[in-house]
């Protein structure tokens, strides 16, 4: 499973780092026993409001896509980034395919355990669209804001 990371506006293959993972259940049961964990694995039915304020100590949060159609983790990632200001890595695990990478990136994911074919060609997916209509967790300026600044400059 190749690991891809997005940084500096490009997607590149990353060397698999050994993370000390802990599941949300394990961590909740005994936080002290998992004090050395670096990555928290959060199932996609977990309520981010319950944990968002407590997870800043992890270097990575791993969110899950049991199937590409199951899009709950998109909301979880946005909440972590936008509402709780989580600044570490947010990693996508599970059904992580080329044609979902752009949406994932926009919602705040920056690491991808890529499960599709042709990981080498996946980088192109990040640059298929020059604009976005709506704000999200990435630094795309929504089109309405670009229109405003263009009108102001005119």
């Amino acid at each position: 499973m190749p690991l891809l990371k997005f940084s500096g506006n490009r997607l590149y293959p990353a060397v698999e780092e050994a993370k000390n993972e802990v599941t949300l259940d394990e961590w909740r049961a005994n936080r002290f026993a998992h004090a050395d964990a670096t990555a928290l694995v959060v199932p996609n039915d977990a309520d981010i409001s319950d944990i968002g304020a407590d997870v800043s100590g992890f270097s990575a949060i791993i969110l899950e896509f049991p199937a590409f159609k199951d899009g709950r983790a998109y909301s979880q990632a946005r909440l972590l980034r936008e509402r709780f200001g989580f600044a570490g890595e947010i990693r996508a695990r599970g059904a992580v395919l080329r044609d979902q990478l752009f949406f994932m990136k926009r919602c705040g994911f920056d690491a991808f355990e890529f499960s599709g074919p042709n990981a080498d060609a996946a980088a192109g997916a990040m640059h298929e669209f020059s604009f976005a209509y709506q704000g999200a967790a990435d630094d795309y300026d929504p089109v309405w804001r670009r229109r405003l600044s263009r009108a102001a400059a005119a």
């Binding site: 199951d70 899009g71 998109y74 994932m104 669209f129 604009f131 209509y133 704000g135 309405w144 405003l148």
Partner: protein
């Protein structure tokens, strides 16, 4: 009408390029059909019984003449010379070849059209009132807000893999021509006691296997907060909607399992935490979009047209057409013209390339270059001078488009059914054709009055049978086509779900059954009451008895 700026145009062009790449990967074998399926379904391309079907978005049902011509040209070039207007104000091509689809989309992109989000578990093309900007009594043109929603929902990164598809309808009138109470979200623009305009937000309506009338979760939402509020609803749904069973995945199931008030509470809580200034459009951008929907330059005319009245006296057929197929316009001296796509024996919603070209030419000359598509699968010329109605009528008649049956028994909604659809249990189109033949006499139809028949070829209810005054649902009974009748439904402001009348009927019996119901109504109606009013007054039992007693 809204016109693309370079941002809109770039988005569509890039989408076509992306899809072209996906089709190439499929044709070269890099993608299996299984892997390609979710990608084509993001772009309106279905695999039907016999061929691919491409659904093209007609945002809120508004078309320019140039767009209508492009649709006709694509029907000639890539299909068999016709296309099908749908209950979601969209258009479907039934026979395109996969290899041609990127070129077809390139052609449509030149006239600012696309197939984005016409399928898949995402926010679908937003629908609206076909009389928007033309009918009297509107708070403002609802298409302003449809366009706001179109842009916000296009490639929304968080809401492209929802539990199930998601449909939003917007109206700004007390007369609901957009069926807002049977949508995932229905928005009704109205004014509060202070005279400010805002939305009534209705959530969780829908048809399909489990029909529901939506719950009002907010009586009044200030207009400027529309997008942040929608984002709150969609987030609650995306996180909490069921994903274990596709038949229970629509938001209506979540709303009804949670309870309307509790669901409203969840939305309000989420909304209170959303950073609204990052999502709601600033006043300048709303004003920019608003400008595109400014009314066309209506001439100052007197309300009545002598020429029109004179022709009505001379030509009976025209008089009937004017009575049935035109509607009052807000500007004096103008009328709204409905074009029926339900000729007797025809296929509801189908139009040939020549018919589409004819409509485009008439709209260009006589209706400020605008055409609308209705959810009842007809077309509308929104702004026609009364002085020109006779000329328009003659031109429509010459094209075979002047059937005077709007709202009548032969103005039937029918899904494509087993003639095209891989989900269908039964055919729908031939039933619609036979009913319209039985009631071919237009004078008789007018005497029967408003009667909405809606036919679905399976429980998924694409033909809206639940909200038909008479609904017909096709069911498979040991390999034979059977039809279940429902009575008393409505998709309008008096929305209700029809009740099942009794045992299913064979294909041979179903047209007789409709006739029996109509006869019973004619014998028992009082004053000017419609079929639906009579049904509601007399009760289900009387009609059931009439339907089955003599059978």
């Amino acid at each position: 009408m809204y016109r693309y700026d370079e941002f809109d145009a770039t988005m569509v062009a890039e989408r076509v390029r992306q899809f072209r790449g996906q089709v190439e990967r499929r044709l070269s074998g890099d993608l299996s059909e299984e892997e390609f399926k979710p990608l084509r379904l993001m772009n309106g391309l279905y695999l039907q019984l016999h061929a691919y079907m491409l659904r093209v978005a007609i945002p809120y049902g508004t078309l320019s003449s140039a767009q209508m011509r492009a649709l006709a040209e694509a029907a000639r070039k890539y299909d068999k010379g016709y296309a099908h207007f749908t209950t979601r104000q969209n258009l479907q091509y039934n026979w395109p070849a996969l290899v041609d689809v990127p070129d077809l989309l390139d052609d449509l992109a030149k006239v600012e059209m696309h197939a984005i989000q016409t399928s898949g578990n995402c926010i679908r093309n937003v629908t609206s009132d076909q009389y928007a900007g033309a009918a009297e009594g509107e708070v403002e043109d609802p298409r302003i807000w449809c366009e706001v929603i179109r842009q916000w929902s296009t490639f929304h990164p968080e809401f492209s893999f929802l539990p199930r598809k998601f449909k939003i309808a917007v109206t700004a009138s007390d007369h609901d021509r957009a069926a807002i109470k049977v949508h995932d979200i229905g928005l009704r623009l109205h004014k509060n006691d202070q005279g400010e305009a805002g939305f009534e937000v209705i959530v969780g309506g829908g048809l399909g296997r489990t029909p529901y009338i939506g719950h009002t979760i907010r009586e009044f939402l200030p207009k400027r907060h529309l997008l942040s509020y929608l984002e709150a609803i969609l987030r609650v749904y995306n996180l909490q909607g069921r994903r274990d069973n596709a038949y229970k995945a629509r938001i209506k199931i979540l709303v009804n399992a949670t309870g309307g008030d509790d669901f409203a509470g969840l939305v309000e809580e989420e909304w209170s935490k959303i950073d609204k200034k990052e999502i709601d459009l600033p006043a300048e951008e709303i004003a920019r979009i608003e400008d595109y929907f400014a009314p066309p330059a209506f001439e100052a005319l007197s309300a009545d047209s002598e020429a029109f009245e004179q022709k009505r006296k001379e030509d009976q057929a025209f008089d009937r057409w004017a009575r049935l197929n035109t509607h009052a316009h807000k500007a004096p001296g103008y009328a709204i013209v409905n074009i029926s796509l339900k000729p007797i024996s025809g296929i509801p919603g189908d139009a040939t390339d020549k018919e589409m070209d004819a409509v485009a030419a008439i709209a260009e000359q006589y209706s400020f270059d605008e055409v609308r598509v209705t959810h009842e699968q007809n077309l509308v010329l929104p702004h026609v001078r009364k002085d020109n109605l006779y000329t328009v009528y003659k031109a429509l008649d010459a094209a075979g488009l002047a059937t005077a049956n709007i709202g009548l028994v032969s103005d039937i909604i029918a899904c494509p059914g087993l003639d095209y659809c891989s989900l269908a249990n039964t055919r729908s189109i031939p039933i619609a054709q036979r009913i319209s033949e039985r009631f071919a006499d237009l004078g008789q139809q007018e005497d029967i009055g408003e009667l909405k028949i809606k036919i679905s070829g399976c429980i998924n209810a694409c033909g809206h049978h639940h909200v038909g005054h008479i609904g017909i649902l096709g069911v498979d009974k040991k390999g034979e086509e059977f039809y279940q009748i429902t009575l008393g439904g409505s998709g309008a402001e008096d929305a209700s779900i029809g009740e099942i009348a009794g045992r299913g009927l064979s294909s041979d019996e179903v047209v007789d059954a409709v006739e029996k119901l109509v006869e019973f109504y004619r014998q028992h109606r009082q004053g000017g009451e419609r079929f639906l009013d009579a049904y509601r007054r007399l009760g289900a039992d009387k009609f059931k008895e009439a339907l089955y007693a003599a059978a």
